[in-house]
Every structure is written in C-alpha cells, then in structure tokens.
Amino acid sequence: MDRRESLKAIVLSTVSSALLLEGCDSSTTEQEVAQVLETPESSPADGRMPEEIARLEEVTSRKFFTDEEVATITVLSDIIIPADEVSGSASEAGVPDFIEFIVKDKPEFQTPMRSGLKWLDIQSLNQYEKPFRDLNEGQRLEIVDAIAYPERAAPEMKKGVAFFSLMRNLTATGFFTSEMGVEDIGYLGNRPNQWKGVPEEVLRQHNLAYTEKELRECVTFDRNV
C-alpha cells in the first residue's frame, strides 16, 4: 500500500469528522463520524509485529485440553454463568474456547487448571463413581457448593476452592469480554462521540453539580443549551 496515499485519506477524513462533529445534530453525529473514521484501511499485518503473528500461530496450532476436559470446562462455566433473562450462558458466549486459548497463551494456568480438573473428577469418582461431567445436576451442584464459597469451605476442600476460584475468574473474564457479555454489562463506549459531562439526572442523584469554573473552562459542547 502507498503509505502517502493512506495518510492523505486520513487527513481528509480528519477534516470531515471534525466538521461533522461540529455541524450535525447529536442524533446523526455518532453514526456519520463512525463511517468517516472507518475509511482508513488497516495495514496488511494490522499493526502486529512479525513476532506477535508467529506467537499467535504457534499458540493456535496446538490443542491443550482433551475433549473430556473441554466437556468439564463447558459444564463448569455454565454453572458459573448460566443464561438468564438478560443474556445467554458462558458456553454460548464462547468461554470454553477462550479458556483453551488463554491457558496456552499464559502457560502458568496450565498446571492449576489440569490438576484442578483432575481433583474434581477424583471427588466425583469417590462420591458417585463417575467423572464430574457425567453427574446429574444435583450431584454436580453438591460438589460445587463445597468449593464455591471460600469462607465456609472445609479445609480439605482447599485445592478445590482454589481451582474453582480460578475457573470463576476465567469464566467471568471470558464472558464479560465477549460481545454478549459487553452488551450484558451495559458498556456503551468505544465509539466516536462527544463527552459532555455526567448527565444532569445522574449528578442530581449523587447530589453533585459542576462548578461555574468547570462549565466555563471545560469543553461542554451543547450541554448548556
């Protein structure tokens, strides 16, 4: 790609986005600005270094968890984050795939995860003579209840508690950084817009107000109109 050409395109889009931000009413501004901002094409490597691309290829070329382990991770992640009236479950949001990736990318998780899954199956075999993934829901929850609450778990469950906490953290991070999870949590940013300050009704709710100095000195756009 001709670098100079692409730079020219940016300059043009910059000018027009600035005009749009100033010239349009707020209902259309965000959408139109977003379109203008999409004009620059990413570089072929998308800004990634060759070393990063090689690392990603290496990580994704191999599989870490066995099919049985993936099945257990899937069951556990949906126990931790099930579907409800707002959004779907962890597995529907792709959490097991994320966990498979991240333990390869961050190898320090491999031993705790693998040994934790083994611990879980040994508990299940001891109690019900079946691996965890083959238990019925009541049996699964009985084991989970014994490791899901660190402050009341029995001392001999310590290893299970540590594993479940890690599993809960990986599940939550995987879920709330997925498209489904971001929508669920209600994050409304990551788009071109104008910051006009905290909405008035929110300020009132918190018994706060901007000072005259702030309103005089800061960028307010049409806040005061």
């Binding site: 692409s6 730079l7 940016i10 300059v11 910059t14 986005s17 600035a18 901002l37 620059p40 094409e41 990413s42 570089s43 998308d46 800004g47 270094m49 070393e51 126990i79 099930p82 409800d84 990736f101 991240i102 990318d105 989970v144 899901a148 609450y149 660190p150 402050e151 479940f164 906490s165 809960r168 953290n169 939550a172 991070t173 709330f176 950084t177 997925s178 498209e179 999870g181 971001v182 669920d184 949590i185 994050y187 409304l188 940013g189 990551n190 788009r191 071109p192 817009n193 910051w195 300050g197 905290v198 929110v202 300020l203 918190h206 706060l208 901007y210 702030e214 309103l215 800061c218 960028v219």
Partner: protein, 579 residues
C-alpha cells in the same frame, strides 16, 4: 568472518539522530524545518497509528481479550511494541538491586506508551539543591525553558487550565474535558481534607489545531494511539511532518552500535546494525544527536571508546550512566458502594484522567524531601482481560441490591453481582520525585552482549529512605481520600514496611533520566546547558539523559522543550560555523 565490512552510506548528512521518540522526533522536526539534511535512526519498525493502531477494536477482537504479552506488556491493544523484555536484547542487574527497563522499538519510541500527561517543570524543579541541599541544581532555570514550553504547547497541543500555581506553571492550554462522576467524587473527598484537585494536563486535542491532525472523539483509547492523530506521539506529530519537508531519511530497524569519532575526537557519524540483514552500516553527519532514551544513550556513549575518548565518549567526567533515576510510584484502589448499580452511559472521555492533584505540601515539614502528584482512574471502562477477577474477595463484603451475599458463589446470583459492581472501581497512584544519586547507575556489563554483539547495560539502583518515606505518605494519603469517599479498599490497603509501602521497583514508572546530565562544570557533568557534550562539541543528547533531576512531573514535555532548545542552538551554531 572473512567478509566482515562496514557499509558506509555515501550521503553526508547535516545531522544524524539516534532515536525517534520525544527528543529525536523534535530534533528532526526543528532541523528539517530549518533546511538541514537529517538521518533519523530508529531501532524498531515503522508505525503509523492511522493504519496500525488497534483503536476502536472490541475486547473480543483479541483472542486474549486484551491481556498482556511480552510484546505488549500493557495489553494486546496497547500502541507500544515491546517493553520490559526484548528477545535477544538482555540487560543485567547488580546483585541486590533492581531496575525494570522499558524499551520501545518503533517509530515514535516511548511516546507510543504514556498517559499523555504533559506537565511543565516549575521554577523549583530546576533549582532543588538550593532548596533542600540534595542532588544538583540545573545550569538553566524555568525562565530559560519557558519560551520552549510555550512553543511546544502551541505545536503539539495540550489541554489544561491556568491555575496560577507557583510550581505548576500556566501554559497555552486547550479546554479540558469535564470531570467524570468518580472524579467529581474524588474532588469532593480530597478537597474536604485539604487536597487540591484540578483539571489534568494531557496532550490530546479537544480542539482542532491544524489540518494535519484531527480532534478528539472521546474513545478513551490514546494508549492504543489515535488514528486521526488527535493525541501526541512523536511519530505522527513530529516525524511525519519532518519527513514531509523532504529533508529527513528515516532508517528503521537500525540498532546503533557506537558513535564514530575522528582523530580530533569529533563525532563523524554513527555505526549501526541493520536488524533485517544483520550487517553493519555507518552513516555520517556534521553533528550527532543522541535521543535513544536515557539509558540507551548512556550505553552508546560508554560503548564508543576511542583513543581520544578512552572512558567512553563525552565521559571524561565519569558521570555517564550515573545519577539514574525514575519517578517513584505507589497506588491504592478500591470500589465505591455509592457507584454500584449505577445508571449506564458512555463515560469514556479522553484516554486518561480528567483531573489530577499537583503536589500541595511543604516538604520542610515532612520526612521526605520531594513531592509527588496524584493520578486518578475508575468508572465504566471497556471490559478487558481481568474483568471480574477476584470477585470472591469482594462480593461477600457488599450489599448487592440490598442483600448481603456470601463471598464467592456461582450462577444467576453471581452474574448479578458482576453487573451490580461494574463501574464502581476507583484508584489513585502517586508519581513522585526521587533523588538522583551518584550511587545509582548503569554501566556496561563486561560479560554480556546482545544478539547484535553490542555490550549490554548492567543496572545498579536502590531506593533510599527518602523515596520509601514518600511512598508511605502516598499510601496513607490515598487511603484517607478513599476512606472519605466511603470506598472499600481492594488493593494497596495492606502496604507497609514489608513492601516499602507499595513503592514500585525503580524503572517501573518508565521515566528514566539523569545518565548524561548537563551542568556548568565539565568535571561533574557530560553536557553543557545546551545539551552539547563538554568533550565533543558536535555531539548532543536530547532525551531524558540530560536531566539533572525530574521534579514530580512526567518528563516528556520537558524532553521536547529541551530538544527544541538544543536544536535551535544547533541551527544557530551551524550558521555561525562553530560546529
């Protein structure tokens, strides 16, 4: 080895600059606009935010959801290539000491990694020895640098407010953004206990300043680098326009090996390894300007040993590598129950804090000699790797929608906890001034070379009680502010003597300075007050190396002001045929 030779570039430049960050970018900009022919060596790859930035990507666009890697220690979307470790480029530390060394390898250098916090040094920051007897006074004062700060403000753009504070000088400011909700709460709580909170000063364009750069559209992602150049990086705001003059050749992937000098001891050019073919090259110029970072510039000088400069170039004083110091840093964070279950709206704002606290106390009444400023964060940020982590340490301490919960848990109840707590975090960090001691230094490790065969640095840095006492004051102050706000502290609350009150390792704050310091006495400094080597009149150093001390201010703005000042001096001296 039979075929070893150095390929010499036939073109004779007016200036060879090593490093394209704040100092090198500014030097290239000033010299190129004065009509001089410049060769700019950069040890990393080309980078243009317009096409290479991860701005506006969603967390799921990264398979690691924005988690860090060694390539991007501040996360997968961060704008900076490399950081604490670089493949094939080690550094070492003397036993019992620590220094974490950040190295960016890309056009624009370390300006691709910073919070755009753009603070001027105040009058006291240049003359602190006269106040407390520690360290050294600069050979210049605020009045010498002020005109350049003004020019940098106008050229680059910075928002802020003129507050008339003695040691936080007024500037040429664009309007700042309004505070976010947690920032209003911080301000209220801090003001209540006598701590000022004022609009931050960041190099982000809240107004358009020219046709080459866009205006901020409030995505909070300056850390990824802005595709419309509405924030400052050296690559987009200095190198790009410098190249457009037609007077600058940028050589990427050029790892400088040493500064070449002639029999009279003058600099003639720079030899470097081309990382693509691993061959050695040499480029020649009338002046050589080092801007490779404080430690890399010191390394280059110490590795440039010749008959005329047996102790390394510009080092007859033996100060090169010494007086190495970083900003101090310690932080405390928590969650604010008042912000739980909050109404959702887009509060991204600019990339970074909208308010901060400048140093407000008199050190004569304290058990540490220098101040710190406070940076703040919190609120409804874009979810990223780490979201929800450690919920089991928190949800048992809360009333979630009026119900007391048990720590940990799972299922629909837990899912509700995450929603309830989202956007309630708040945190603060101090960035303070450390004393530049002669005993804190980097030197050439006699036993280790990098993959280019260049001898590497060995660090020897330790914090003193001054910095530890300062960190203790930070910790107690932050806990007090958070207590006033009614926050539950989740990190930093257990700091104490066992961990130096949360004081981070030196180097961690990524404000290295002091290793090639300026001064009037050639026996106690490497450079004169024009950033020019006492021992070699056509050699300059315009990065953090030249700093005598660094105040409690992030150093980028001063690097640029001093580089602009040195570059104008170079143009003047060349006209007068003095160099």
């Amino acid at each position: 080895m039979a075929d070893f030779q150095i390929k010499e570039e036939p073109k004779q430049y007016d200036a060879v600059i090593v490093g394209s960050g704040a100092g090198g970018g500014m030097a290239a900009y000033v010299l190129a606009n004065a009509g001089l022919k410049v060769c700019l060596l950069e040890a990393g790859a080309m980078f243009d935010p317009a096409t290479d930035s991860a701005q506006l990507k969603n967390p799921w666009d990264s398979p690691r959801r924005g988690a860090s890697t060694k390539f991007r220690p501040f996360g997968d979307f961060d704008g900076c290539y490399w950081g604490w470790e670089i493949d094939g480029e080690p550094y070492t530390q003397a036993e019992g000491t620590s220094w974490d060394w950040w190295r960016a390898r890309m056009l624009g250098g370390r300006t691709n990694h910073w919070g755009r916090i753009s603070l001027r040094f105040g009058p006291k920051d240049f003359k602190h020895r006269s106040i407390d007897g520690l360290g050294e006074d600069w050979p210049i004062g605020y009045e010498d640098v002020k005109p350049y700060y003004d020019k940098v403000d106008r050229l680059i753009g910075v928002f802020g407010t003129n507050e008339g504070l003695e040691n936080e000088p007024d500037g040429v400011f664009l309007p700042p953004p309004l505070p976010r909700l947690h920032e209003l709460k911080i301000k209220k709580a801090a003001n209540g206990i006598g701590i000022p909170v004022i609009p931050s000063r960041l190099s982000i364009l809240t107004k358009k300043i020219n046709d080459e750069r866009g205006q901020c559209f409030y995505c909070a992602q300056c850390g990824r680098s802005c595709k419309v150049y509405a924030d400052f990086t050296s690559g987009s705001c200095l190198v790009k326009p410098a190249v457009e003059t037609g007077n600058v050749d940028v050589v990427p992937n050029a790892m400088a090996r040493e500064v070449v000098t002639n029999s009279e001891g003058l600099a003639t050019g720079v030899s470097y390894v081309n990382k693509d073919d691993m061959l050695d090259y040499q480029v020649n110029g009338r002046v050589v300007i080092l801007a490779a970072s404080a430690c890399e510039s010191a390394r280059l000088l110490l590795n440039s040993v010749s008959r005329r400069h047996p102790n390394g170039l510009a080092n007859s004083s033996d100060v090169v590598g010494k007086y190495l110091h970083d900003s101090t840093g310690a932080s405390v964070s928590g969650v604010l129950p008042e912000l739980m279950g909050r109404k959702r709206y887009n509060e991204d704002g600019v990339g970074g804090m909208h308010v901060y606290t400048p140093w407000w106390l008199d050190n004569k009444k304290l058990d540490f000699p220098r101040g710190y400023h406070i940076e703040y964060w919190g609120g409804m940020q874009q979810p990223a790797y780490g979201f929800g982590w450690g919920v089991e340490n928190l949800n048992g301490k809360l009333q979630v929608n009026g119900k007391t919960k048990e720590a940990g848990g799972y299922g629909k109840s837990l899912k509700e906890d995450y929603r309830f707590m989202y956007g309630a975090s708040v945190g603060m960090a101090g960035r303070g001034e450390a004393i530049a001691f002669e005993s804190n230094y980097c030197e050439i490790d006699p036993n280790v070379v990098d993959k280019y065969g260049i001898p590497v640095l060995r660090f020897n840095v330790k914090y003193s009680d001054y910095e530890i006492n300062q960190a203790k004051h930070m910790n107690q102050t932050f806990k007090e502010i958070l207590h006033e706000m009614g926050a539950i502290i989740t990190s930093g609350g257990d700091a104490g003597p066992h961990n130096n009150w949360g004081l981070q390792n030196p180097g961690k704050i990524i404000h290295e300075a002091g290793t090639v310091r300026m001064g009037n006495d050639p026996k106690k400094s490497a450079l004169n007050k024009w950033s020019q080597a006492h021992d070699c009149k056509n050699l300059f150093c315009v990065d953090g190396g030249q700093f005598v001390s660094q105040g409690d201010k992030n150093i980028t703005w001063t690097i640029m002001a001093l580089s602009m000042r040195a570059s104008e001096y170079i143009v003047d001296q060349m006209k007068k045929q003095n160099i």
